[in-house]
């Protein structure tokens, strides 16, 4: 039985309007997209304010004065919009880039370099293992830009190795592309479920 709840109808309208985006750009789609952009920005402001209040302002009110530093740095971000004081916004940017780079890079050595190398030590007793180790080394040579052997004798075979590396990676990209189809289908099927079950009351 078709739904009589007005908010379900609004939700169905937005679902169809955004889907029409892919067919042809039309005023309904533009209206829905503007609504989305605005609502998303409004949600960001709401969530940002919760954090600023509960982690920054409330402890400050309770007397931990060190909270002044991040709060002032946060406000300083907005000097970006004034021609004269734009340089002030460099302080919070510098701090955020410092924290962001430090937090990420510190883990990369172990997470994405050493532990990955250790796990590539595979006993060469099966075709899969030999193929695995060979693929990792061959694809790795594709990413070498300057320390490549210059002597003509080695240059030719090296170019074949890097081309083979590129082929091996393109096989992997083909498989990933197919996996993306199944993800988007699964996501969009959720909207079809909403339209069929909640809106039209079928199934």
């Amino acid at each position: 039985m078709i739904s009589t709840d007005p908010s379900i109808w609004v939700m169905a309208f937005f679902t169809i309007a955004i889907t029409s985006l892919a067919f042809r750009d039309n005023p309904l789609a533009k209206f829905a997209e503007h609504t989305f952009l605005a609502a998303q920005a409004g949600n960001l402001i709401t969530m940002a304010w919760r954090n600023i209040r509960s982690i920054g302002l409330q402890p400050l009110m309770k007397g931990s004065m060190t909270m002044l530093i991040p709060l002032l740095f946060g406000v300083a971000l907005y000097t970006r919009y004034s021609k004269r004081y734009i340089w002030v916004s460099r302080y919070p940017t510098a701090m955020m880039v410092g924290i962001g780079t430090g937090v990420t890079v510190r883990a990369f050595v172990e997470f994405q370099f050493i532990q990955q190398i250790i796990d590539t030590f595979k006993p060469l007793n099966s075709f899969n293992n030999i193929f695995f180790v060979a693929t990792v080394v061959i694809c790795l040579t594709y990413f070498i830009y300057s320390l490549t052997p210059k002597s003509p004798a080695l240059e030719k075979p090296m170019s074949y190795v890097t081309r083979l590396g590129r082929y091996l990676m393109m096989i992997a990209f083909g498989a990933s592309m197919a996996n993306t189809v199944i993800t988007r289908v699964g996501q969009y099927a959720g909207r079809i479920m909403f339209l069929l079950y909640d809106w039209l009351g079928l199934g």
Partner: protein, 214 residues
């Protein structure tokens, strides 16, 4: 000279000290260092919260311009955009995001839009697959052939009727793809470590914008 110190050098020093502090927390077992690093991370959270507002200020400025210019129906969209933005911001900050009022406008407006906006990429993906992914070169050929195999293997009905597809797919994913992606990940990891070196030691300053000629 002091303006160059204040405008450029001090921010670089901040990045340097804060970057090394994060790395120190990771590798060194020094409790006081760990507490300092954790509180600096808390500062990072607060500044990130402020940075989330930058997008909104940008939207407000851009759309106020659009309203002033009054081109065709464009400015009506801008008015509607600002109305919805302030509706969410005021209800969100006023009543709080846990309130039933905010939950109502979120579930009626933002939830269906966000739930359809990203999945709608499916249609662009389908037309890209049909129109753009062609066997122009050997690489394109490999891309298309393996893509086709995995597409079929991902369909449960085909996997059920042709069990060998499941083993072909698991070989491609667990051996070929894992090895190729491991090499790419090693490269990205090393690249990020090197860029981390240039950022923390002040060699890379794109994020700080232009050199002032003061």
């Amino acid at each position: 000279m002091s303006t160059k110190l204040v405008r450029k050098t001090v921010p670089l020093i901040i990045t340097f000290l804060v970057g090394l502090l994060m790395i120190g927390q990771w590798f060194l077992k020094i409790p006081s260092l760990n507490e300092l690093a954790t509180s600096v991370q808390q500062w990072g959270i607060i500044i990130a919260a402020f940075a989330m507002g930058l997008g909104s200020v940008n939207i407000i400025i851009r759309n106020v311009h659009r309203i002033q210019k009054r081109e065709g129906t464009d400015w009506l969209y801008a008015i509607w955009l600002l109305a919805i933005f302030f509706l969410f911001a005021i209800v969100g900050i006023g009543f709080g995001s846990a309130s039933s009022q905010y939950r109502y406008i979120f579930n009626t407006i933002l939830q269906p839009l966000s739930a359809t906006m990203y999945p709608a990429t499916l249609f662009f993906l389908v037309s890209a697959i049909y129109r753009t992914f062609k066997t122009r070169t050997v690489e394109g050929g490999l891309f298309v052939i393996v893509g086709a195999i995995i597409l079929v293997a991902n369909a449960p009905v085909m996997a059920a009727t042709f069990p060998f597809l499941v083993s072909v797919k698991s070989w491609i994913m667990d051996v070929e793809l894992t090895a190729a992606y491991r090499a790419i990940l090693l490269g990205i990891g090393l690249g990020a470590i090197m860029l981390g070196f240039r950022v923390i030691f002040g060699l890379e300053t794109t994020h700080l914008g232009r050199e002032e000629e003061t």
